[in-house]
Each structure stands twice: as C-alpha cells, then as structure tokens.
C-alpha cells in the first residue's frame, strides 16, 4: 500500500503537496494523541522526553518503508504548521476520542496476544504496540540482564521467596518435568523460542511454561544466568569461591565453601541455593537424566562463569551446604474471586500474596507504565483483597460470637470456683477484649471439674487415711489453674500418689507394733500435723476466694448487661483490637505455661519443706 503510494508520488510530482500534508496530518494526529496520553500518565519530564525520542524514532521507522527519504525532503515547515493549526482548531474533541480509540486498539491487541492465536501477527503487533506506547516496560524496566536485586524487585514471587519469577518458574518446571529428561541442560532448543519467552517475561505477560519443552526452559534459565551483569556468586566472593573449590582436602573444602555460601548476600544465597539444590536433584536422577555432577559442571560452568571444578565441588557438597533449602513450588496469586480459600490461614497467605502483587502493580504504574490491561489487573487484585479482608473479618466475627455464647452458657450454669486464674482472665477480658473470653469457658470448665474432684476427695478424706488425702488436696490445688491436658496429667499423678500412699499405708499398718518403725510413725505423725495445718489454711483460702468469685461474677454480669445494651460497641472494640487480642492470647498462653511450671516447683519445694520440718521436729523431739 505504502509502496504504491510512494510510486504514485514519484510518478506525479505535482501531488507532493497533498502527500506531505497527509504525512504531516498524520504526524500531528499522533503528537496530539501523544500529548494527551502523556498528560494522562503524569510521568516525569525526563521520561517524557525519552518517550518522545523513542516515538519519533518509531514513527520514522514506520514511515521509512514508504516515504522517509522523499517525505523529509518534501516537508516544508510552513505547510506543516498550516495543517496542524487546521486540525487543532476544528476537532479537539475528536482527538481525545482518538486517543481513547487507540487505547482500545491496544487493549485488543494485548488480548489477542494473550490468546496467542497467531504468533507471527502477534509479534508484528507487539512491535507496533511498543512504538505506539509511551515508554516500553520491557525496555526501561527489563527483568533479564539486570542485577539480581532489580530482577527480584521487578518480578517478584509473591509468596515471600525472593527469587525473580522466571528463575523460580524455570526451576519449578524443571523439578517437575526435567528430572526424567535425558541429557537435560545438554540439549538446547532454538534460540528464538527462548528469546520469545524472555520477551514475554520482560513485557510482564502471563507465561505458561508448561506449554514448552525442557530444552527451552533450561535455555531460558541459562539465558537468565548469562544475562546477569554479575555472577550470582558475586564478583567479590567469586575468587574466594574458586580458591575454596580448589582445596584438595574434602573436609576443608566443604568447610570453606560453607563459610563462603554463608557470606553471600541474601538474594544471591537464595538464587545459588535453589540452583545448586535443583542441579543436585538432577544428578541424583542420573539414571533418567543421564547427567552426573561432572557432566552438569561441564555444561553449565561457562554459563555460571565459574570453573568446572568449583561447580562439581558445589554439587558434591550440596547436602552439607544447603541443609535447610527446600524447593517449594510457586503458587501464584489467585486471579478470580471465585476460587478464594475458606480456611483462615490460607486466606491470610493469599492476602499477603495479593498485597505483594498489588504493590508491584502500583510501583509499575507509578513508574509510568500504564496500560488498560494493567489497570484492569489493578482493580481485579484490589477486589480480591477486599473480598479476602471481608471474609477474614466475618470469620473472626463468627469465632467471637461463638466465644460469647459459650461464655454466657457457662456463666449461667456457673459454679463457684477457687480459680484465681479465672478471675484474672475475666478481669483482663473486661478491660480488653472478647477474644480472651474464649479461654474463660475452658478454665471455668476445668475449675468446676476440679472443684468436684476436690470435694469428692475431701469427702473421702474423712473416710480414708488423712495422710493420703491431705497429700491429694495439696496436689490438687495447682490443678484448677491449668489447662485440660495438665489437668488430666495431674489427675494421673494424684491417682498414682493415692495408690502409692495406700500401698504404704497397707504396709504400714501391720508394721505398727514394731519398734523399728516407731521413728517412722513419729515422723509420719509430725508430717501429718503440718499437712493438716496446711489443709486448714488452704480451706480458709478457698472460702475467701469463693466469696471473691461470687463478687466478681456480679460485676461480670453487670458488664455483660451493659454489653448487651450496647452491642455495637462490642463490635467496634473487637474489630479494632483483633491484633491486640491475638497478641494477648499468645502472651497469656506463654504465661500460663510458665505459671504451671512455677506452681509445680513451688509445690515440690513445699513438700520438701514439710518433709524437712517434720524431720527437724522429730530430731528435736528425740533430743
């Protein structure tokens, strides 16, 4: 088409004027559009200038086919001015619309691209896009061929593993499909395929590696590594790595390599560890991959810019060097609200991923790379985040409501308990939050059960030997403050003691008349005395605490009543204090465990004290 035109111009020189006008018109159209889009973009001035230059080149190139030479000669400044002013004055509105049209066109092209219906036409369109767009993200913020940290920043894995996405995707793919592939890494694929993938990554397009074969992916990984401006072993450490790799003594070599690996910057450590662990698994599957450490080293040492010897050494020492490294397959952020997880943990993980993705989109947009597609994505991700947040919040609310119900039911059937801890929790609950409430019913439960147990035991005490029972009560006392497991454990202990002391009693009874046991009887009697004293003291304390509990319950009921009259305030509190609640709960648990341990120690010490004091009394008596 264009060629024909230029021919026409050649043949009919008289038409130059209108032709040049046409060219100028086209130019002015573009520049107007440009202005508009640029305004829209709000990018920095520097970028604009750059863009403009790029674009001018771009247009020149586009027109070059047809009439570049002639066109430039023909154009006269006066004429172009005329045409421009004519255009501008008449239809400024249309231009705005044109710019919008163009955006639509672009979006269309993008969509087609994604579908990958026709690769050739797509490529052409891709080129056109680049020239039309103000600034090309693949050129200005590429992922390949930049320092590792930039690659990570620009193409994040949103699950917190700091590897550039293409790098991670390649390793994921090869771990999945490559370990049964003969001569993996040795067989290469056409460079065009690899370059195509690289281009897609640089353009931030969605890439599905599963559509490609193993050699293409190894090629892509190799290309990523080769494109890095600095070795992943860092230029500072690479010499020392080489030195360490050359050490003959195996143990020494391992030791040195381990230190060096530990000295790598975090991002480099990540990249190195994943790569070496991956390559190591390739060598482990030597039967199917036909690749051992030596052959891998021979194929990849040049790519990694290290010696074969060093790479072999790294592979051989891999299990020792990267003990904790696990290759986790990357699950990208979800793309539709329909598949949102239902479990709270999964939702929170997903939320983090989406938020990471969102911030990346924002940073790309703030850098001036705005496209219809990216805007769509921005809204989509934002919507997912909103949905996730709502879901998590409603889940939390359900949990809270359950907690309140439980609490209420327990309060209604509530018995008195001698549990100080319960009071403490209720006190904190009143002050802070409802989450904490959830623990209250539990401890109430415990204390009720324990109370029953205690009562039974006290009753038993009157029937059975006091000796045994006092011991039991003493052991029971810390019990109410403890959680379920502890309680059962204690019950067991109590039972054991019971049986033991019963045994001792049984053995004691026939021995009573024996003189040899007189001392022991005296000792036991003395001990019994002190324990009885203790028992009385404890019973007194129990009474006092029962009163206190009754008092606190009244207070609690008042508070509850207030809460019921003002339910909205409960919500607001709980919503705002979600995090604090969690923290408090955790803290509470830790303190709980600490307390249990302390109580145990105290009881043990106490027993020893009683024992010792009994002995002391015995000694003084005998003296």
């Amino acid at each position: 088409m264009e060629y024909e035109q230029s021919n026409v111009i050649k043949d009919f020189p008289g038409l130059y004027a209108s032709e040049s006008q046409k060219i100028n018109n086209r130019e002015s159209d573009y520049s107007e559009d440009e202005k508009l889009t640029r305004k829209d973009l709000l990018t920095g001035k520097k970028k604009d200038k750059k863009d403009k230059k790029d674009k001018e080149k771009g247009y020149a190139a586009l027109e070059g086919e047809s009439s570049a030479d002639e066109g430039y000669e023909i154009r006269s400044p006066t004429k172009s001015k005329k045409s421009k002013s004519f255009k501008f004055a008449s239809k400024s509105k249309e231009k705005r619309e044109k710019s919008r049209d163009k955006e639509k066109d672009f979006a269309d092209k993008k969509k087609e691209k994604d579908k990958r219906i026709d690769k050739k036409s797509e490529k052409e369109k891709g080129k056109n896009d680049k020239k039309e767009r103000p600034g090309d993200i693949a050129e200005e913020l590429p992922i390949f061929g930049v320092p590792l940290e930039l690659a990570v920043e620009r193409s994040r894995c949103h699950d917190g593993v700091d590897l550039p996405l293409p790098y991670r995707a390649c390793i994921d793919y090869l771990q999945m499909y490559g370990l049964g592939f003969e001569y993996i890494y040795k067989i290469s694929s056409p460079k065009s395929k690899v370059l195509h993938l690289k281009k897609m990554y640089n353009h931030r397009e969605f890439v599905d590696l599963a559509e490609h074969d193993v050699p293409t992916i190894t090629g892509l990984l190799k290309m990523f590594l080769r494109d890095l401006p600095e070795s992943i072993f860092t230029s500072e450490l690479i010499v020392r790595f080489e030195e360490a790799g050359a050490i003959l003594n195996v143990a020494m070599r391992e030791k040195h390599l381990k230190i060096l690996v530990g000295n790598l910057p975090p991002l480099n450590y990540m990249a190195v560890s994943w790569l070496i662990v991956h390559l190591y698994t390739v060598t482990l599957n030597e039967k199917s991959t036909k690749m051992n450490a030596q052959s891998i080293a021979a194929t990849l040492s040049s790519t990694l810019q290290i010696s074969q010897r060093l790479l072999t050494a790294l592979l051989c020492h891999c299990p020792a060097l990267f003990v904790d490294v696990k290759l986790i397959q990357y699950i990208p952020p979800l793309i539709s609200t329909a598949q949102l997880p239902d479990e709270k943990d999964l939702m929170e993980i997903e939320l983090k991923k989406q938020e990471s993705l969102l911030s990346q989109i924002h940073s790309e947009m703030n850098a001036g790379f705005v496209s219809k597609q990216r805007e769509e994505l921005l809204w989509e991700v934002q919507r997912l985040i909103t949905q996730l947040k709502r879901k998590i919040r409603s889940k939390n609310r359900v949990v809270e409501e359950k907690g309140i119900e439980e609490k209420v039911s327990h309060e209604n059937t509530g018995n008195s308990s001698e549990n100080l801890e319960t009071e403490r929790i209720t006190a904190t609950k009143k002050k802070d939050s409802q989450e904490v409430l959830n623990t209250v019913p539990l401890s109430l439960n415990n204390s009720e059960d324990n109370l029953d147990l205690n009562k039974k035991e006290i009753n038993n005490a009157s029937i059975a030997s006091e000796n045994v029972e006092v011991k039991n009560i003493e052991w029971d006392f810390p019990k109410p403050t403890e959680v379920d497991q502890e309680k059962t454990a204690n019950v067991k202990i109590t039972q054991e003691i019971e049986s033991k002391s019963v045994n001792t009693l049984q053995t004691e009874d026939p021995n009573l008349p024996l003189l040899a046991n007189d001392k022991e009887i005296m000792y036991l009697n003395l001990k019994n005395q002190t324990l009885l004293e203790l028992k009385n003291k404890l019973i007194e304390k129990m009474e006092i605490e029962k009163k206190e509990i009754a008092r606190l319950k009244l207070v609690l009921k008042e508070v509850q009543y207030k809460n019921q009259t003002e339910p909205v305030i409960i919500d607001s509190n709980s919503d705002n204090l979600d995090k604090i609640m969690e923290l408090l709960q955790n803290e509470n648990q830790i303190l709980h465990i600490k307390k249990i341990n302390l109580v145990r120690k105290i009881m043990e010490e106490h027993e020893i004290c009683i024992d010792l004091s009994a002995k002391l009394m015995m000694l003084t008596a005998s003296c």
């Binding site: 209108s18 049209d101 705002n576």
Partner: protein
C-alpha cells in the same frame, strides 16, 4: 471489542473520593450489601463489583473505595486514571470535608483531563440534620459552578444511596454511548484512512 459488550454486560467504573471519615466506605457497603457499619476504620483502598439492573439493562458496576487520608495519595492517582465516573463525597456536618472537595475535583480533572467526566457531588450524613455545617444552598452552588449534580445522602438510613450510584452510572452510560457513536465512525475511518486518502488522490 465491539463484539464483547453484547456477550458481557457493560462495566462501569465508579470511584469514591472525599476526605477521611465522610462515609465513602459506609455508602459503598450500604449500596453493595445493605449494611451499615458504624465503626470507623480508615480505608486504604477497596474494590467491589456488583451486577445490577440499570433501566432494564443488566450492567456491572465496579466501585473503588479510596483512602481519604493523604497518606495514600500516591496510589490514588493510579486509580483515578482508570475511573469512568466519580462520586465526590463530603460530610454535611464537617465544613473542611466540603472545602476538600475542591481539591479532589481538581485532582480528578488533572488526571482525567476532562471537564465533562461523569461526576456527582454528594453530601453524606444528611440524617444528622441537627449537626449540619454545610447548607444545601452552599453545596448546590458549588455543584452548579462545576456543572454537576448535588445529592444529599445518608449511608445510615440508606436515603438516596442507590440514587447516587444509579445516576452516576446513567451519566457514564450516556457518555459511553456518545463516545461509541463517534468512535465507531472514527475507528472505521482510522482503519481505512490510508486507503481513503489513496482513493481521494
């Protein structure tokens, strides 16, 4: 592109702007879920989608609830750019929030570069008549000056909540139809431009 709208309902993108605490989220949630949340939690950004019947036609509405606080101004521009219509909200009980609408209007015009962008000035919290600080007159005048409609709403009582969203969507729809008419012609023209010129020659 031209085929798509027939298979999928039209999508209108609405952005809520206004100072912090004027009730942007409250209005959005009331519209979306018929719920009124009284506890205040500053929004960073939230996005919702809903299918509705607009004058018998099924359409989708995307609502973006933005942050009123200046802290999030940087990300706000990214959203403004993609908005097709704006609800500019202030609280009739707070003079400053009314003053701030001026800034928001300017920001939107700066980003969209379009005086006629679908836009509604919304005075929220109209259930709190006894605490009113901004008169209806005052707000209407500003709206008139901008060439937009002024509506008073209450997210609490749901008064005029649907109205503001539907009115705005109608504006967006009208705007799009107008564009489609001209752009369809333009689009053809653009595609055939080279050819046309040739034949003219």
């Amino acid at each position: 592109m031209s085929k798509k709208p027939t298979s999928q309902p039209a999508l209108h993108k609405v952005i809520m702007v206004g100072s912090g605490g004027v009730g942007k989220s409250a209005l959005t949630l009331q519209f979306m879920y018929d719920e009124f949340v009284e506890d205040y939690e500053p929004t960073k950004a939230d996005s919702y989608r809903k299918k509705i019947l607009l004058d018998g036609e099924e359409v989708q509405i995307d609502i973006l609830d933005t942050a009123g606080q200046e802290d999030y101004a940087a990300i706000r521009d990214n959203y403004f750019r993609s908005g097709e219509g704006f609800l500019c909200i202030f609280s009739i009980t707070e003079e400053e929030s009314f003053q701030a609408t001026q800034d928001f209007r300017e920001q939107i015009l700066r980003v969209k570069n379009d005086e006629n962008i679908p836009f509604l000035l919304v005075g929220n919290k109209c259930d709190l008549e006894d605490k009113r600080k901004v008169s209806f007159q005052e707000a209407s005048e500003r709206a008139k000056q901008w060439g937009v409609t002024y509506v008073e709403t209450s997210a609490k009582t749901r008064e005029h909540v649907d109205k503001v969203f539907y009115d705005l969507m109608r504006e967006i729809r009208a705007r799009k139809m107008e564009e489609n008419k001209t752009s369809n012609g333009k689009g053809k023209d653009k595609n055939k431009r080279k050819k046309l010129k040739c034949t003219i020659l």
